[in-house]
Amino acid sequence: MNLHDFAVAFFALALTGALVLLCIAFLLTVTRILLGPTLPDRVLGLDVLTNVAIGFIAVIALDSGYTLYVDVAIGLCLVGFLATVAFARFILSRGKTEHLRREARAGIDAEAGLSGGQRP
């Protein structure tokens, strides 16, 4: 077995191994997302899932030879980040919105001279 054959065989083996590992990673990540228990935990799980998916795409790209799949990976990087930011944003603001909304409505109802809480 010359170097070339070894390289090719090793690479193929590596890819298979990588796919196995990534599949395991999928499984574990999904478990965390489903288990929670808190929202940040789940978001974290989704974040890891994004990373695992990026890796998966890279491996598939290597396996199939369609290296243009890297673009999909880049896109996933971007939205993965966006998702995490957005979730963080809403973890931060949850509770706040409801709190304020109730006050705002009560104020306007009072201005309009209506008793709050009633609906037509």
Binding site: L19, V20, L22, C23, F26, L27, V30, I33, L34, G36, L39, R42, V43, G45, L46, L49, T50, A53, F56, I57, I60, Y66, L68, Y69, D71, V72, G75, L76, L78, V79, G80, L82, A83, A86, F87, F90, I91, S93, R94, T97, E98, R105, I108, D109, A112, L114, G116, Q118, R119, P120
Partner: protein, 785 residues
């Protein structure tokens, strides 16, 4: 018919509509005097039609018309023969008097112009109805009379009774009209006869048709409702809510005769069968007797007249049903006579109302001195109605008894009905025409007075006409009754009956009728109480039944509608999806389009893993009670779908799916976190089972059908084309993108329109806020000045 005559025909038909258009304007300018110029229109139409009388009395038939809707094979065509011409003369002649009468009767009424318009519209419709030849033309006019009478009955729309009367009339006559339409269409489509002329020329075609019975029943439904046969008669007394000119015109002389017209018209084609001679006399006789009894029961003289009209219509139907030549002649004689005296009496009733401000028979009396002309007119009409010679009513009654004088149980029964009915009507005639004018004047009546010329001229002319017709009976028969009867019989007939009584059975019966009538007249107060008591004991009648039917209809409608539209989205959705599933499985089972059993799929392990990921995403979405778990699992299945796309050679799809799925989850979580939702989100077991059944059915059905389609050979022509020309012509290497922006760019154009509108719609949703009870919250970005 020559061109000029056809033109005249069209003019006669159009004149009332023209007058209808002008009436509001003229009334505004001339006030009540507008009646005079307006009366020119029907008068002119009368004279135009009268011009056709020599011809039709000689047996000619004038036809004119044009193709109206060739695509539907419908003509706008008319037929002037004895029947239609005489009807037309009655309509326009009495119409002229009614217009004059209305001028006085409604003088100063602020809606007089509108009233004239409606009356003229009705007149035009009625005229068209009787002259029409094409069945569809006839029907259009038929329904127009229903519509216009709806407006006329509801003229005093501020009273609920008027509105009720109008609706009742529309419902009953309109409903009958639809049956008539069905009958006409059946005639047209199954026998190919499109016009009256064709129907009449076809001889026994209709009678021999397999569909004779349905046709007859449908036509009779139309005729009986319009001509107020029991039990459809209820609308007619209630139609008395209309101003009196309307009652005089529509509900005595014209509209109610439309059904009679139809029966006379169809008699040659549909009559003389066992069914005809059974149904018509049965309905007619019952209507006659019951109507006459009810007339006696009424205390309002207008209502009395209305019921006598019902009775008269019954009599006419009965005669037409008997269908012998004599019977038809009798019907024709009675029809014309009835139009004259009943129109006159209604106008008299109106004048009495006008003069004494009441129509209650108990509160009327002694008006003769104050209203002599009206009294005279009333007596003329009443004598005719009572069948006293020398009035046209006498001729009719003689002929009726002639027609029924056979020693046969059938005829005897009808004869008894005729005698009883006539006697009752005799009494009713004098109750209306005599009682208010004689005796002591009750103190409730103040300053009774004769109306203006326009008020009394109408009844007077009609009363005198009844006399003149009988006196010059030869001419009368020559011009009017013989042509009409000939057309109705379907063969030339001779009528010779005159005002001079001959001693025969008919005369004897006539006398008996008069005597009986006088007795009833004298006992009328007691009889009235008796009938009233009887009716009160029964406690129910078709009129009450109408209300019950309407309410029942509405209640049933409400019940059905609430059942079908319960207001719950989940039920709507479940039914919708169930229907969709049925739409899938129905034809699938019917045609047996199931897939073949597939071989076990050979996939790489990581492909299996991706599908497992998909399943791992779907299951918690469905099963998780925690909403956030569900949402994030949604992200998982989205990723899985994106990976599937990538594995199967769709990078663009994968790219987009990843982005869209992530964004979906993000905004979903965003909204979720803001909604203060209950923690537990349980579905009841019943719901779960129902949803589960639907879900399994939908999933399996669509999946199996997809598989069966995927197992078919595939035509890849389109994609080959795109591959071949994507770079060469469209200069793009990414074939999917070239499809999006070039090959199928219009799809994309629509797609971005959707995206843009979504943006705007979301903006509108978020920015426009309304508080409880419709208070609009200020737009946060709206600049306050």
């Amino acid at each position: 018919m020559t061109g000029i005559e056809a033109t005249n025909g069209y003019i006669a038909l159009a004149l009332p509509f023209l007058a209808a258009a002008l009436a509001p304007l003229l009334t505004r300018v001339l006030g009540q005097h507008a009646a005079w110029p307006l009366a020119i229109a029907p008068a002119a139409a009368f004279f135009i039609l009268f011009g056709a009388v020599p011809g039709v009395s000689a047996g000619d038939v004038f036809l004119f018309g044009f193709d109206w809707i060739p695509s539907f094979d419908i003509r706008f065509s008319f037929r002037l023969d004895g029947l239609s011409t005489v009807f037309g003369l009655l309509i326009t002649g009495i119409g002229t008097l009614i217009v004059l009468y209305s001028g006085g009767y409604l003088a100063g009424h602020k809606d007089q112009g509108r009233f004239f318009s409606f009356i003229f519209l009705f007149m035009g419709s009625m005229l068209g109805l009787v002259l029409a030849d094409d069945l569809m033309t006839l029907f259009v006019y038929w329904e127009l009379t229903s519509i216009t009478s709806f407006l006329l009955i509801g003229f005093d729309h501020h009273r609920e009774a008027a509105r009720r009367g109008a609706i009742q009339a529309l419902v009953i006559t309109g409903g009958g009209g639809l049956a008539l339409l069905a009958g006409f269409i059946v005639i047209r489509e199954l026998t190919g006869l499109a016009s009256m002329t064709e129907v009449l020329a076809a001889g026994d075609a209709l009678r021999d048709s397999a569909l004779y019975v349905p046709i007859l029943i449908l036509v009779l439904c139309g005729a009986f409702t319009k001509s107020a046969q029991m039990p459809f008669h209820v609308w007619l007394p209630n139609a008395m809510e209309a101003p009196t000119p309307v009652s005089a015109y529509l509900h005595s002389a014209t509209m109610v005769k439309a059904g009679i017209y139809l029966l006379l018209r169809f008699h040659p084609a549909l009559g003389d069968t066992a069914l005809w001679t059974t149904i018509l006399p049965a309905f007619g006789a019952v209507t006659l007797v019951v109507g006459a009894l009810l007339a006696l029961r009424a205390t309002d003289i207008k209502i009395t007249l209305a019921y006598t009209t019902v009775a008269s219509l019954g009599l006419l139907v009965m005669l037409i049903g008997v269908g012998t030549e004599t019977a038809i002649i009798a019907a024709v004689l009675y029809l014309i006579a009835h139009s004259l005296f009943k129109g006159g009496l209604f106008m008299v009733a109106g004048s009495v109302d006008h003069g004494a401000h009441t129509r209650e028979i108990e509160k009327l009396g002694g008006l003769g001195r104050a209203m002599p002309i009206t009294f005279a007119a009333a007596m003329l009409c009443a004598l005719s109605m009572g069948g006293v010679t020398p009035f046209v009513g006498f001729l009719a009654k003689e002929e009726i008894y002639h027609a029924l004088e056979y020693a046969d149980p059938y005829y005897v029964a009808l004869m008894i009905a005729a005698i009883v009915g006539n006697a009752l009507m005799f009494a009713a005639a004098f109750i209306v025409a005599l009682k208010p004018f004689v005796g002591r004047m009750p103190e409730t009546i103040h300053h009774p007075h004769e109306g203006s010329l326009t008020i009394w001229i109408g009844p007077l002319i009609l009363g005198v006409a009844g006399l003149v017709g009988a006196l010059f009976y030869a001419t009368y028969h020559q011009l009017f009754t013989m042509p009409m009867a000939s057309a109705a019989v379907g063969a030339p007939v001779e009528i010779g009956i005159g005002w001079v009584p001959h001693l025969n059975l008919a005369f004897a019966l006539s006398m008996a009728t008069v005597v009986l009538g006088i007795v009833i007249y004298l006992l009328s107060a007691r009889l009235r109480a008796g009938i009233a008591g009887f009716l009160a004991a029964v406690g129910w009648g078709p009129d009450k039944g109408f209300d019950q039917a309407m309410r029942g209809l509405i209640r049933a409608a409400v019940r059905i509608t609430r059942l079908l539209q319960p207001g719950h989205l989940d039920q709507y959705m479940a039914v919708t999806i169930a229907v969709i599933i049925a739409a899938l499985f129905g034809p699938l089972i019917y045609t047996g389009g199931w897939p073949a059993i597939p071989a076990f799929p050979r996939l790489h392990f990581y492909e299996w893993a991706v599908f497992a990921l998909l399943l791992a995403g779907i299951l918690p979405v469905v099963l998780a009670t925690n909403r956030l778990t569900a949402i994030l699992s949604l992200g998982i299945q989205g990723f899985a779908v994106a990976l599937i796309f990538m594995l199967l050679g769709a990078p663009d799809l994968s790219f987009t799916q990843f982005m869209v799925e992530t964004l979906s989850v993000v905004i979903l979580a965003l909204a979720m976190t803001r909604l203060k939702l209950s923690v537990a989100d349980h579905r009841p077991l019943r719901d779960k089972v129902q949803a589960g059944v639907l879900a399994i059915a939908a999933g399996s059905g669509f999946g199996l059908f997809l598989l069966s389609i995927a197992q078919r050979p595939f035509d890849r022509t389109l994609s080959d084309f795109f591959e071949r020309y994507s770079y060469a012509i469209a200069h793009g290497r990414n074939i999917v993108n070239v499809i999006l922006v070039d090959f199928r760019g219009v799809d994309t154009m629509g797609e971005i329109a959707v995206v843009m509108v979504t943006g705007l719609a979301v903006l509108a949703l978020i920015r426009i806020r309304v508080g409880p009870k419709g208070v609009r919250y200020p737009d946060p970005l709206e600049k306050t000045p």
